[in-house]
Symmetry: C2
DNA sequence: CGATGGTTTTTTGTATACAGAACCATATCG
DNA sequence: CGATATGGTTCTGTATACAAAAAACCATCG
């Protein structure tokens, strides 16, 4: 109401503040360890203190910020080890959802849906043969596949937990973007990942819970190795979101 | 400030409101599905609307309440299946932390600490031979053991996730209380669980990650079977916290 | 020149006021 | 008699005011 610099008036202030703050943290505009003053966030988000405060509580619960004993919050600093651990957690959770889906069985419709998703990813990987132009589309689709996989478990509790497991940046196998120069490696990684995607879906279709679990854990290990490679050799792979979070650790 | 019905003045209003609300939900004073009006919570907790609102946001993030599309929150209703799933999730997470602890190795001091914890539980189980008087102590100690196990992983990310996995009521193997009449079965359960506790600690000490993982998963399966038994035959075992949450499902 | 104490300023925690939306009940019209 | 409009009531979402605590700053003293 002070100024009408509203980018979108249809969304509630609370949601706007949450998205703004999360973006500020993930983009690195707020340095790890930096104290978050409510007032400055009011200035940056345009919302009042109340929505900002609610967003801060949510972000604390999400794990992106942590409370300061004397009051207020600071941006949480993640180490490389934290990221690796998050990937492992995600692997364990996705192994569990895959196993559960296989054991309980899934509807043909759901199976068809997720296979469609796989097919779309195939198309995208083909399109990326010459350029990485559509990489962000791939990231989106990949996230959709994983969400669909969670859904196959049919368990709200597991879905919720699996989603939270990926809350940390880089927890997804595709949570980094590749430089043009790394095209061959990039495609190889994507193709292997896609193969695992396909395998897990078939394992679920065949009711092989143990195998589905194993595949998703292996999938996470692949992601871990790739991230490690990316960190050791950042000329070929360049980290995208939240690079500031990890900056402090190197 | 309206009335000084403050039970404890040393704690902040926010924390008081959070604890009050959580207790109201877990105790069943608020029925599953029931809408939570901020105003009534203000009356019940003695805090103002702002702390109540913050507590509500936290509880939503915890998963105990869910937002109503038209605004506000309602108490989440859990089914028996949800509880079983939560136990499985916890099993997966504790398997992971045990595996991680084994792979990374733990300090002798930490190992001694958790072994002390085991010894204390042994004493308590012995004391329960004739009566279940100290059962609540056992529940507390068991929680401490599991927390200590999480700590062994040495990973803040894993610890955090493991703790959240147990957020749902009953997710712990000892999340139910036993009636006096069930003393023999109760002790058997506790003894088997304690055996698994001991085995996982030894597996970690011997750096057997795979085995430590398997044991904790089996531990969860035991908890699941016991809960199932308790639900089928509630004359022998009686559910404690959050019985209202599950009431709707039966 | 450094340390210490007091003062000022900022910041958080809390309460409350206000506006708009949703809900409910009633009354009116078909 | 039923459906719909309408008015009032209650609720949430948001902004803001106020007080206590913390932090920062400055001045004074050793």
């Amino acid at each position: 109401m002070t100024r009408d610099n509203d980018p979108d008036r249809s969304v509630s202030q609370t949601v706007r503040a949450l998205l703004s703050l999360r973006d500020l943290i993930l983009s690195g505009a707020l340095a790890p360890g930096e104290r978050i003053s409510e007032l400055s966030m009011v200035e940056r988000t345009g919302a009042s203190r109340t929505p900002v405060r609610m967003a801060l509580v949510r972000l604390e619960e999400e794990g992106l910020i942590e409370p300061i004993p004397s009051g207020g919050f600071s941006v949480k600093a993640f180490t490389e080890a934290d990221i690796f651990d998050a990937i492992e957690v995600r692997g364990a959770m996705e192994g569990l959802v895959a196993r559960a889906a296989a054991q309980r069985g899934v509807s043909d419709a759901a199976l068809a849906d997720i296979r469609d998703c796989l097919a779309e990813i195939d198309v995208l990987i083909d399109a990326m043969e010459s350029s990485l132009e559509h990489f962000s589309d791939y990231v989106r689709l990949n996230a959709r596949f994983h969400a669909a996989l969670h859904e196959l478990s049919g368990s709200p509790v597991m879905i919720r937990q699996a989603e939270r497991a990926g809350a940390l940046p880089f927890a997804s196998p595709s949570g980094f973007v590749m430089a043009q120069s790394a095209l061959p490696q990039a495609r190889t990684i994507l193709i292997v990942a896609q193969d695992q995607h396909r395998c897990v879906v078939e394992a679920i279709a065949n009711r092989e819970g143990e195998r589905a679990d194993a595949i998703m854990r292996e999938h996470a290990r692949l992601a871990r190795r790739n991230l490690q490679l990316a960190l050791e050799n950042q000329t070929t792979l360049d980290l995208v979101a939240g690079s500031a979070l990890i900056r402090r650790a190197r």
